[in-house]
């Protein structure tokens, strides 16, 4: 039985969460069973992801023909070090968020919608995994729409009434992004007549000088840029993160933008090819400029925010700047830094949003004023926030330090020391906005909400601390992350020079 399934692991990776989504609705009368089902599905996904990564590391790229139809006619799932690594990030975060969801969702979502929430969460996971695992350009669009649509639903379930408008804004923007991606893929199809990525990569060099291709690439970059909140296309993100339910924010913030970054990498490096993107077209320069703008603006705006979740959302815009900067550098070192920061930022933001979720669980607010003095009332929740915050700043021995270290090295390697200074300057700004929260929440006299608060339940604290400890673990044990990130970067950069 198991050995039969073993050959179909790439399909199961997507099918397991996909099947569990409708089951959530069928079993809607027993919310606890729904949760257990989702828990089992996400943990199974993680197990499959680990097994797949293991197979890729030992045996090289896996190609899986969906339904037995061989590529380029059928849909091919193609797993190499890059997407095995991203799948690990997504399923890993899902596996930690799911135990957290139980109590958090029960408190924040009306009881009759809880099964719906889980169904959407599972669909979102399906979409993200599908986008990552597939080797077919059109399939990327399909899964992107699955994840996006479910995300709009998840965000709109926030208790705050502004959740609805922000979900609607995201819906419009997300749809535009999806359409752009579709238009881009359409252009590629027009010039090559194929949708399989590997096939596209083979045929595109024959048509490098075509305007159609260049325009298609522009549509793709802008469309994916919308999904990954590249400056100035980030405007949907702060409200969406701020008003979504805690569980949804933690999951989306830690995974969605990462998968979008993966899609960008895949299109730029595998499909279009770095020669066209970086040498024929000035993609690298534009990416660097937008990265720097996002990094600086996001950090400064975060400093002045009054809402902690919104502050973290703007910090995400800044962190995406770091990731984009590594991609813009277009060296193996830069890509390694980006891949590392994908992983580490997922850990950091996951932990931060979950810690804020713990605070919200008791205080019903994420406004800084209401969190005054909360640190002393909820030391474990806030301790998690502080340690994850240190990791965000990039303090040595935390995960955040490792990726920033590599990014600084990558900038110096190509002689662009102003970028290195900017990266370090961004850390200084992060100190300011994290410290602002620490000062108010730890040293301020308790607000009325904080005075009544007690420590968050273990059901929330344990998953949060698992991520916090993972931050510390991967800050000191860099073997897995740096090793795989470097391998992934080298896989991507094969066509580079």
């Amino acid at each position: 039985m198991l050995s039969v399934l073993a050959n179909d692991l790439p399909a199961l990776q997507v099918v397991v969460p996909l099947v569990s989504a409708p089951l959530c609705l069928i079993l809607a009368r027993w919310p606890r069973i729904v949760w257990l089902l989702c828990l089992a599905a996400s943990w199974t996904s993680l197990a499959i992801a680990i097994e797949l990564l293991d197979q890729v590391l030992s045996g090289g790229t896996i190609s899986y023909a969906m339904g037995g139809w061989a590529a380029p006619w059928g849909i091919e799932y193609r797993i190499d070090a890059v997407n095995a690594y991203v799948i690990l990030i997504v399923t890993g975060i899902a596996s930690v968020v799911m135990p957290y969801a139980n109590q958090s969702v029960a408190k924040e979502i009306p009881a009759d919608r809880v099964p719906l929430f889980y169904a959407l969460l599972m669909l979102c996971l399906t979409g993200l995994l599908g986008m990552t695992i597939t080797g077919d350009a059109f399939n990327v669009f399909v899964f992107l729409e699955i994840s996006s649509l479910s995300m709009y639903g998840l965000i709109s379930m926030g208790r705050d009434r502004r959740a609805l408008t922000s979900a609607f804004q995201y819906l419009v923007m997300g749809t535009i992004g999806g359409t752009f991606i579709l238009v881009g893929i359409g252009f590629l199809y027009v010039v090559t007549g194929t949708l399989n990525m590997a096939d596209l990569a083979m045929r595109l060099p024959e048509v490098t000088q075509l305007r159609t291709l260049h325009t298609g690439f522009a549509f793709l970059v802008v469309g994916i840029g919308l999904k990954l909140a590249m400056f100035p296309l980030h405007l949907w993100l702060p409200n969406a993160y701020a008003y979504a339910p805690s569980t949804a924010t933690a999951f989306i913030a830690a995974t969605a933008t990462k998968v979008a970054v993966y899609a960008l990498l895949r299109f730029v490096f595998t499909v279009i090819g770095p020669v066209i993107a970086y040498q024929d077209l000035p993609f690298g320069e534009i990416a660097k400029v937008l990265a720097v703008l996002g990094l600086v603006t996001g950090s400064f705006v975060a400093i002045f925010q009054e809402n902690v979740k919104r502050m973290l959302a703007y910090s995400s815009v800044a962190q995406i700047g770091y990731i984009l900067l590594g991609i813009g550098l277009a060296t193996v070192m830069g890509l390694t830094a980006s891949m590392l920061h994908l992983f580490n930022h997922a850990l950091i933001k996951g932990a931060l949003f979950m810690a804020v979720g713990c605070l919200f669980y008791r205080t019903r607010s994420v406004r800084l004023d209401d969190l005054r003095g909360i640190g002393r009332k909820m030391p474990w929740s806030f301790g998690a926030f502080v340690i994850a915050g240190l990791s965000l700043i990039g303090v040595p021995l935390t995960a955040g330090f490792v990726s920033k270290w590599y990014l600084v090295q990558a900038s110096l390697e190509v002689g662009q020391w102003p970028l290195a200074v900017l990266v370090l300057g961004g850390s200084l700004l992060a100190i300011i906005y994290i410290w602002r929260v620490v000062e108010i929440a730890w040293f301020g006299s308790p607000s009325t909400r904080a005075a009544e608060a007690t420590e968050a339940p273990l059901g929330l604290l344990i998953p949060t601390w698992i991520l916090v400890l993972a931050n510390l673990y991967f800050g000191t044990h860099t073997g897995l992350t740096v090793g795989v990130a470097n391998l992934a970067a080298r896989t991507l950069a094969e066509g580079l020079r």
Partner: protein
């Protein structure tokens, strides 16, 4: 049973359990920790047991050889005695930090590389300061802060030294470093601060007497001995240490003679004993090094015993000033007897443990031809007899009757003192079967020959005679409620007053500078706030239409740029 358990682990687990248990269970856990740790240590393999990769360096948190084993045994023994001594108090903070403190000391002596050593070194600082603060008096809090500042200064110096050393040699292993590089000097300075080099010693005499009665026992056992260990490991045979050590043996004597607080007298006497060890390390021969580490071993026992005796007096009477005490032997005969055994050991009277180790150092000074050094050490030995051997027991338990009649201290305190006292005598009478087999360096030595014993007895008798003659004729400084000025006066009086007068001069210039800088700075922040503040252009919630405009703009930019 060979084990690979890191020696510091049982104490860390012990600290955790101590934090969550109470009452008899906690006492049992605390006492069991050093026993379990000791049993594990007996069966530990030698060599580099654990290795971790960090940022391209191979760390060796546990490296076992004879030198670290000696200190490992010593710290387990010391920890057991100190825990037994402290087990009756009901202060979770003290118990937990004491366990962490012991764990970090073990971490330091088993660290196989400089980075692990540095981490233990910092933990040593941070955990020990709580033993001072745990007294919870205003003086103790302030002394604790001064202690913390200097100790962190030591940590920073150590880190700087390690960075320079590693950069120069590329070697992070904890082995011989020497004074050939500037890094070596900085590391030695950092270690020197922790073992009370002259002019760097004031934290010791400042903070230890302010700590809790039981905390002082822990403090006197670990911090300085870790420094002695590290000096032995990394700077054996460094010439400057001979002279620094010699200076350390005699300058505290003068302070100790006039000091009134008996625990401060012990702190000065501790620097004096450390001087002997540092001197032995500087001499660097196998015999001298054996002398240094065995003296460290014995010092833990007899100095611990004396601190315990004074701690018992402090616990029962609330006083430690010589002028407030006296005549306690009438109601505390057992404590008095045990204190005298400690005093006899520190004075190096034959048949007590101080004799069998100190004479090794003196002998090697002679062997190496350092006559002047030997003479100073001899002088210092008389000084020890005077201030630690006679002054401590005499003023506390005899002298003029203070009228105090406190009862004997609790049983566990007496038991701890008894164990230390018995060990002092056993090691003193049979060193060849107890202490010497543990010594890490190969050197043959027999303390009990006619020359050594007779020289020492002559020295002690005439020294003792001189002291009692001075007391009879009134030439001995009487115990007074006075504060003696040491080097710490420099930073406790001169530095603050210097700073405040400098402040008066510089204040107008500084405030005008601040005013000048504040205006553009405030302007900049206002500008930032205008665009980045919650209602600023870059942060407010945009209408969908404007968002879409940005999308179009960016698409246009991409298409145009790609077209060009």
């Amino acid at each position: 049973m060979p084990t690979e358990l890191p020696p510091f682990l049982p104490f860390l687990i012990g600290a955790l359990l101590t934090a969550v248990t109470r009452g008899r269970l906690r006492s049992a856990v605390m006492l069991a920790t050093p026993v379990v740790g000791g049993i594990c240590l007996l069966g530990i393999d030698s060599g580099a047991l654990h290795q971790v990769q960090l940022l391209g360096y191979t760390l060796t948190p546990v490296r076992v050889d004879e030198l670290s084993m000696l200190f490992g045994y010593l710290f387990h023994l010391g920890a057991f005695i100190a825990i037994l001594y402290a087990v009756h108090i009901k202060d979770t903070l003290q118990h937990v930090v004491a366990m962490i403190y012991a764990a970090s000391a073990l971490g330091a002596v088993f660290a196989g590389d400089l980075i692990s050593f540095f981490l233990s070194w910092e933990l040593l600082t941070v955990s020990s300061v709580f033993l001072v603060w745990a007294r919870r008096t205003p003086q103790a809090i302030r002394a604790g802060f001064r202690y913390l500042i200097l100790q962190i200064g030591s940590g920073v110096t150590l880190l700087a030294g390690i960075l320079i050393h590693v950069h120069a040699t590329g070697d992070i292993s904890m082995g011989h470093i020497g004074l050939d590089t500037p890094g070596g000097w900085l590391i030695m300075l950092a270690l020197g601060l922790k073992c009370g080099f002259p002019m760097l010693h004031m934290w010791l005499t400042d903070a230890y007497p302010e700590s809790t009665p039981t905390g002082a026992v822990f403090l006197c056992m670990f911090t300085t001995k870790c420094a002695i260990y590290a000096l032995t490991r990394s700077f054996a045979g460094a010439d400057p240490l001979i002279y620094i050590g010699t200076a350390m043996t005699f300058f505290p004597i003068f302070f100790a003679v006039i000091e009134n607080d008996l625990r401060r007298v012990l702190a000065y006497s501790m620097i004096n004993q450390l001087g002997f060890m540092v001197c032995g390390i500087g001499l660097g021969t196998a015999l001298a090094l054996n002398g240094a580490v065995s003296h460290a071993f014995n010092d833990v026992l007899f100095k611990g015993l004396l601190f315990m005796a004074m701690g018992a007096v402090l616990t029962m009477t609330g006083r430690t000033r010589a002028s407030d005490l006296g005549g306690l032997y009438k109601s505390m005969p057992q404590t008095a007897t045990l204190c005298i055994i400690g005093a006899a050991s520190i004075s190096a009277i034959p048949l007590f443990c101080g004799f069998v180790s100190k004479s090794m150092i003196m002998q090697s000074a002679l062997n190496e031809g350092h006559m002047v050094v030997w003479f100073f050490l001899l002088f210092a030995s008389v000084g020890v007899l005077e201030h630690a051997g006679i002054k401590i027991p005499f003023f506390a338990f005899f002298a003029h009757d203070s009228g105090l009649r406190p009862p004997e201290p609790p049983t566990n305190m007496r038991l701890a003192m008894l164990i230390a006292a018995v060990l002092c005598v056993v090691i003193g009478t049979a060193p060849a079967t107890t202490l010497y087999p543990l010594l890490p360096f190969a050197a043959e030595y027999h303390p009990y020959d006619a020359t050594h014993v007779i020289t020492q007895l002559q020295l002690l008798m005439f020294g003792g005679l001189a002291v009692f003659w001075m007391m009879r004729t009134g030439r001995y400084p009487t115990e007074e409620r006075a504060i003696n000025i040491d080097v710490d006066w420099l930073y406790r009086r001169i530095l603050p007053s210097g700073i405040s007068s400098a402040e008066n001069v510089l204040e107008p210039a500084w405030s005008s500078l601040k005013r000048g800088a504040a205006r553009p700075l405030n302007g900049l922040i206002a500008l930032l706030f205008r665009y980045h503040g919650p209602q600023g252009t870059l942060a407010r919630t945009w209408p969908i239409g404007s968002m879409v405009i940005w999308v179009t703009v960016l698409l246009a930019v991409f298409v145009v740029v790609y077209y060009l």
